[in-house]
């Protein structure tokens, strides 16, 4: 392919890197807004989400433009993977927005209990996002495979937290609205880890040419149930 084509591929990669960092920042700030009960920060996260929306559109536009030049082999894989990358990252942004909205609602009532599992989930999901980006940049598909497996840890924490919050609601109906908001946040973090896992699967496809979706997780046992505490 031509020099121009290679330059466009580089631009595409650059846009993805920008998207990952913006998505990760949105999640980080949304969780911070929750923990510090900072409504202004939460509103900022919601406002900034349009940047990710615009980047997704830009990546797709560039991707379609590049596909019209009929690329093959690793170029073809890079472009299709990039478009899926962008879609997943835009959704990460949406989940961050959800967390921010619910944080604002939670800020109107006293905090139900100290948050333990939610920051842990956020930390795990963010690490998965960062590592997926790292595997993408370093062309490291072995690392990407390992990220996919980490998703189960976040799933387990989400389930555990849901059970705990359900028992709160049974015992004390006045906590229901707060518990529901926390459940939504927990689910959002679990979805962010899913998206990071999707990114990692795309990295494997990109560098190995093998589609590992719905395969890697099947063959590993779930992690032991985590300690209690939201």
């Amino acid at each position: 392919m031509s020099v121009h084509f290679d330059q466009s591929l580089d631009a595409l990669k650059q846009q993805l890197i920008t998207m990952v960092s913006k998505a990760a920042r949105a999640v980080d700030r949304a969780v911070k807004a929750l923990l510090e009960r900072d409504d202004d920060l939460a509103r900022q996260v919601i406002a900034d989400d349009t940047e990710l929306d615009e980047l997704e559109v830009a990546v797709d536009e560039l991707g379609v433009n590049l596909l019209s030049k009929a690329p093959l082999a690793s170029d073809l894989r890079l472009i299709t993977a990039a478009m899926k990358f962008a879609q997943n990252l835009e959704r990460v942004g949406d989940e961050a927005t959800t967390i921010a909205r619910r944080a604002i609602e939670l800020g109107r009532e006293p905090q139900l209990k100290p948050y333990v599992d939610l920051p842990r989930m956020a930390q795990l999901a963010l690490a998965m996002l960062h590592d997926a980006l790292d595997a993408f940049i370093r062309r490291d598909s072995a690392r990407a495979r390992e990220i996919v497996l980490r998703d189960k840890e976040v799933d387990a924490l989400n389930k555990q937290l849901h059970r705990e919050l359900a028992s709160y609601m049974v015992e004390k109906p006045s906590t229901i609205s707060r518990c529901l908001n926390l459940m939504v946040i927990s689910k959002a973090l679990e979805r962010i880890a899913d998206h990071a896992s999707n990114l990692a699967e795309e990295v494997v496809y990109l560098y190995e040419g093998r589609d590992v979706r719905h395969q890697l997780k099947k063959h590993t046992p779930p992690p032991p149930p985590p300690e209690a505490g939201a």
């Binding site: 009929a70 894989r77 040419g209």
Partner: protein
Amino acid sequence: MAVPLPSLPSPAPATGADARHPELITFERLSLWYGTAQALKDITFGIRERLVTAFIGPSGCGKSTLLRCLNRLNDLIDSVRLAGTVRLAGQDIYAPEVDVIELRRRVGMVFQRSNPFPKSIYENIAYALRLQGIKRRSELDEVVEKSLRAAALWDEVKDRLHASALGLSGGQQQRLCIARAIAIQPDILLMDEPASALDPIATAKIEDLILDLKRDYTIVIVTHNMQQAARISDYTAFFYLGELIEYDTTAHIFTNPSHKQTEDYVTGRFG
């Protein structure tokens, strides 16, 4: 004394793609020299029946030379020397007893530039049939129509069968050449860049035709157009400097080739 080539083996039981498409042509350690220059180096692989196989590679890689080994067109060049074996349905086509005329009847060829005879559309097809001894007008009419229909040209020319073939457009002339090639019912159709001189619409018609024809014929196509190979072929062979670098399903070659040279070539980063 020329011995007829054996007839095709009966189709294998349909237990999978490979069983439905057994190897019809096999190259075994085939090497070819033009004088002292070696154009093909130790080529070994098999081409499957009733599928489209594309030969790709940069100019001078040997793909057209290999194609021409299949109907022994290289015999026409004095300095050519060949080692190894080419088999068609198990028969060595370079064995001394093989009737080359009969071989070329079974292995039809379509070239880059359409080359109709300066005769009518009808005669372009009827000519080879007459050479085969078919004289009855009704039979000739029938085969001409059948061949033109198979080449997706009938509707465009049925009202002017006796007009000169040279009055047809480039794409129509190429389809006429395909009709002429299939009129004598070959087993194999060789195509050497059959659409490289055509516009995208005429190219699409030729490609559709190739996909229709593979129900009945084994097709081997040389093309410089990677996307064309991706669109129409089932298997792709990549050649470089006379060597077969990679041979695999087309999907594999164009999404995830195993060899770096193939990757570099199909992504246009060669050399």
